[in-house]
């Protein structure tokens, strides 16, 4: 049976090329792998190999022809002793490339552009049963208890990182875990973030539930390829076969006087990535409930803590087991005049500002996102539809911030409710300076939140 040899595509973008040279002539016998022609693409001259055996029956496109479209027949290959089919007779053509373009259909609309949803409503259900006894705990203790409880309930959970075991944690978050769980499950690593993040991801592929501690998230930049390319994307790339249940946790954002390389908030960076979940708790109860949820989640979770918050005390429910669901914001303070949305340490400024504003008769509603991805946009929208004003507060850099994203959601879905432009408060657009006075200036402050609230309420 005669076969048409078609002009090949020799690069991801090639549509046509020049048939520079034939290395065979009519009547030549060729075997699979023999180079039969040279073809020039826009990038290079490529050798073109025969993919089947046979005899070159007829050359259809002369050497030197420019602009030969991909898939144009350039020669006819016949079997030994076979005649070239007569003009017009149809040689067997290699597969119909038409099949490639049969999907001109419209893409399914992304969730954010879905047709008018029902009026957004905040989920204000309590995180734990009314009347639950509470105790005072620091964020540090709450995080440790969360890990210890989950390690008791599943042998597959282990924690690895620098100084997590014998040193008891650089920030003492893993204090006592080595004594209780032993060196098999509380693992000191060498200083090698890229390597141990990858090993952690591989262990998750292998069925374990690693908690990878970064001494701070600044060092996770060394490992970001594994967090994004290996952990976040594998479920999708495998068509749902292979997930990556892992928690990357550690302090994030500015501490105090540690300079540019150790003071940066990564919330907006990781929040960009489909496949990741991003958590940034403020209170001790949330730190505990969200970390337990993160360890149980079948997806990679970025758990952003804050060094300054570690030592702060909050009420934590006394319960054998409780978790906080992802994607559920917490309304810390109800108000009617302006909505202040924040997360993590930003909540400190938001709450202080609300207190001061109340004294001046401005009623601020303060929302703690708790999880940046998934984000409880309904809680934000419901609040903005009530107060008609929005301020966002975070410590990260201003360009491409979490606040910028929130603003875009509010513009799309609640534009008509806004009585003033949204204000995004963020860290200043500079690397963190060391000098005490400059560092203070670089961070977002309670004064700025108060000032922004006055501005949007025109008071």
């Amino acid at each position: 049976m005669a076969t048409e040899i078609l002009m090949p595509a020799l690069s991801p973008t090639m549509e046509e090329g020049t048939l520079a040279k034939w290395l065979v002539k009519e009547g030549d016998t060729v075997a699979s792998g023999d180079i039969i022609a040279e073809i020039e693409t826009d990038k290079a001259t490529m050798e073109f190999e025969a993919v089947d055996e046979g005899v070159i029956g007829k050359i259809l496109v002369e050497a030197g022809t420019e602009g030969v479209k991909v898939n144009t027949p350039i020669a006819i290959l016949v079997a030994e002793g076979e005649d070239v089919p007569a003009e017009g007779a149809k040689a067997e053509t290699a597969p119909a490339p038409a099949a490639l373009n049969d999907s001109e259909g419209k893409l399914a609309a992304p969730a954010s552009a879905a047709p008018a949803p029902a009026a957004p409503k905040a989920d204000t259900s309590p995180d734990w049963p009314e009347g639950t006894a509470m105790k005072t705990q620091t964020v540090r203790e709450a995080l440790r208890d969360a890990m210890a409880e989950e390690m008791r309930s599943s042998d597959d959970v282990f924690v690895m990182g620098e100084e997590v075991a014998e040193y008891q944690g650089a920030y003492k978050i893993t204090q006592g875990l080595l004594d209780e769980f032993g060196a098999k499950r509380v693992i000191d690593t060498p200083i090698t973030e890229h390597g141990f993040a990858g090993i952690g991801v591989g262990a998750a592929f292998g069925g374990l539930r690693p908690i990878v501690e970064f001494m701070t998230f600044n060092f996770a930049m060394q490992a970001i390829d594994h967090i994004i390319n290996s952990a976040a994307k594998t479920l999708y790339m495998s068509g749902g076969q292979m997930g990556c249940p892992i928690v990357f946790r550690g302090p994030n954002g500015a501490a105090a006087r540690v300079g540019a390389q150790h003071s940066q908030c990564y919330a907006a960076w990781y929040a960009q990535i489909p496949g990741l979940k991003v958590v940034m708790p403020y209170s001790a109860a949330d730190a505990k409930g969200l970390l337990k949820q993160a360890i149980r989640d079948p997806n990679p979770v970025i758990f952003l803590e804050n060094e300054i918050l570690y030592g702060r005390s909050f009420d934590v429910p006394v319960l054998d087991d409780f978790t906080i669901p992802f994607g559920k914001a917490k309304i810390w303070r109800e108000g009617t005049d302006v909505t202040i949305v924040s997360f993590g340490i930003g909540m400190t400024y938001a709450l202080e500002a609300a207190e001061r504003l109340a004294k001046d008769g401005i009623s601020a509603e303060v929302i703690d996102l708790r999880t940046i991805r998934p984000m409880d946009t309904d809680a934000i929208l419901a609040s903005v539809m009530k107060t008609n004003r929005l301020i966002t507060v975070e410590e990260g850099f201003p360009q491409g911030s979490v606040g910028n994203y929130i603003t875009s959601v509010v513009m799309e879905r609640a534009f008509d409710y806004l009585d003033a432009p949204v204000i995004n408060l963020a860290g200043k657009d500079v690397p963190m300076p060391y000098a005490a006075n400059l560092e203070k200036l670089a961070l977002v402050t309670t004064d700025e939140v108060v000032e922004a609230a006055r501005k949007v309420t025109y008071r």
């Binding site: 119909a96 282990f158 990858g198 592929f205 292998g206 290996s230 594998t234 068509g239």
Partner: protein, 329 residues
Amino acid sequence: MAVKKPAAKSNVSAEELLGYYRDMLLIRRFEEKAGQLYGMGLIGGFCHLYIGQEAVVVGLEAAAKEGDKRITSYRDHGHMLACGMDPKGVMAELTGREGGYSKGKGGSMHMFSKEKHFYGGHGIVGAQVPLGAGLAFSDRYKGNDNVTFTYFGDGAANQGQVYETYNMAMLWDLPVIFVIENNKYAMGTSVQRATKSPSLWERGAAYGIKGEEVDGMDVLAVKAAGEKAVAHCRAGKGPYILEVMTYRYRGHSMSDPAKYRTRDEVQKMRQERDAIEHVRELLLQGKHATEDDLKNIDKDIKAIVNEAAEFSKESPEPALEELWTDIYA
């Protein structure tokens, strides 16, 4: 055909040899077909063929047992076929169709099979090395005797994360076999132009990891080295390095004009050291098979590959809703 090495092992059965012949031939014919489909525009993007390197994966798979894991880079079609993944599912992934291993969402570089313990298919050079050590970590943690074959190329051998991984793999006695597939070129840069190290496996010595160089064009030599490495790992002695000297006949990817080496160099390897021809000679010389037997195998393989190609064309493109699935478990 000048086959330099006679049968390396006398204790190899005809059945085994025929199995290696079939497995290697399947990879070669599959890859040739993939190249053909790429030329026709049915396969897009990057497509890295394994032609020339077949003895590496076939030899090492011969040393593996059920439960062992494998992970590699983007030049992954051969590894998938060698561990028993369905050629139809692999080819349909190359054409981006619903019937592919990743439902068309992964492509040539990203396929996985939980059933066959194949963990990808990774596109960032060297990233699969710590991932492979992590898989081995999971087996050691669970206390079984599985090993993980972690494949990477001579190019990846210069990535820092490889050495971070060596350090921890040895520190924690991880049952991982680091297989350096040295095909002499990292894209267009020869090993000699990328390092002054006389050999790549010897770098493991800095971490106390044992290893050796292996003739990657001789499937029996690869198998023997694989068995030694596997025994080392299963005995709890930690990682092992195999630097398997091999050669890729085709370009780095389909769009590689291959100007960094001469056509003669490629031809010489093909004619003098081809791994498939080597086994073919052993089979014929040892009177384990006749020309007709081998022709019949060729025919069978061609049929399997054609069936895979047909499937990959007929399988529909993924449903549009698939864009939004499998992002979160």
